[in-house]
């Protein structure tokens, strides 16, 4: 295991190892203990919002999508398949809601096309000259939508290719290809930015 992977395992983005596992929380919610669903919301709301924001680049829409995803999950909790992962399920609901919004945008305007890079993307691009995190965020924002989703889920799902494939409903091989290309583009953009900064200095 590489040092990066070890670091990820040491400090997971989503804290699921604390006390009760997601399956138990789902079962408790179905048994009428509302606070169990509250714990699930607490555990995943930030990650779901992050996915929606990275996909849509709009804070208001991301908030709406995150809320809708939890409403939908709560309403259809009885259909949740035992043995499945709650995180994959909720990310999948949120991602599909994002896709719906993107296709609506595509229908009503020509600003955002899912499969192309968005060179004029929002205020994040202006922050390219900032620190590493801001630079990386800006680079991710410039990725085509399909690569952006894979990179975001790679981050959220702690590198689980099969989980990413389930959320995006694409084969694992495609996930790997998209991830490879996304990383290539990211590295190129980051290196270009770094070179630009160096030249400016």
């Amino acid at each position: 295991m590489t040092s990066v992977a070890a670091a990820v395992m040491e400090a997971p983005l989503i804290d699921t190892a604390t006390t009760v596992d997601d399956q138990t929380l789902v079962a408790e919610t179905l048994a009428g203990r509302g606070e169990a669903f509250g714990t699930l919301v607490e555990r995943y709301d930030r990650a779901v919002y992050h996915l929606a924001y990275r996909t849509l680049h709009d804070a208001e829409e991301a908030r709406d999508v995150a809320q809708e995803a939890f409403f939908k999950a709560f309403r259809s909790l009885r259909t949740f398949r035992p043995g499945a992962k709650f995180s994959t399920w909720i990310f999948s609901i949120a991602y599909h809601a994002c896709c719906d919004r993107l296709s609506r945008r595509k229908r009503y305007s020509s600003e955002e096309l899912p499969d192309r890079a968005d060179p004029g993307a929002g205020p994040e691009q202006e922050a390219i000259a900032g620190d590493d995190a801001r630079r990386l965020r800006a680079a991710i924002a410039r990725l085509p939508e399909k690569y952006r989703a894979v990179i975001t889920l790679y981050h959220l799902q702690s590198r689980q290719y099969d989980e990413i494939a389930q959320v995006l409903e694409i084969p694992i091989g495609t996930v790997k290809t998209h991830l490879f290309r996304a990383k290539e583009q990211l590295r190129r953009m980051l290196n270009e930015t770094a070179t630009g900064d160096h030249n400016e200095l």
Binding site: L13, Y49, A62
Partner: protein
């Protein structure tokens, strides 16, 4: 700085998640676990009771308006006679007494329900 594969991985996994907007979690909880359907002001059985009373009052009023008080009084008398006849039967009185005693006895019990041992059936 030239980003290598491991630099990129490290940067990706060090990237913090977006902060959620204020009130988002509260809003989700308010619309899910804390959401209760507005309870009707009156219960279903109360609606039926009120409806029945209103129907009886309407029937009485129609009867009074059409034929005066005499037939109303005679109808009420006959209903009262039937009730008196039923209640005065020894068997009816006996069943009412048995039912009342059982109700009083049950109201003094405080049953304790012991859960089964982790659902294991013998």
């Amino acid at each position: 700085m030239n980003y290598s594969d491991s630099d990129l991985e490290r940067a990706l996994f060090n990237l913090p998640l977006e902060e959620t907007p204020d009130g988002m979690r509260a809003s989700i909880l308010a619309h899910t676990v804390y959401h209760r359907h507005a309870l009707p002001a009156i219960k279903t059985w109360e609606v039926w009771l009120i409806g029945g009373c209103l129907a009886a009052i309407a029937w009485l009023m129609v009867l009074v308006l059409r034929e005066g008080f005499t037939p109303v009084i005679s109808t009420l008398n006959s209903i009262g006679d039937v009730i008196l006849y039923v209640v005065s039967q020894p068997s009816t009185v006996l069943w009412i007494a048995v039912g009342g005693a059982a109700a009083v006895w049950l109201s003094h019990l405080s049953p304790v329900i012991v859960p089964s041992k982790s659902g294991v059936r013998r």
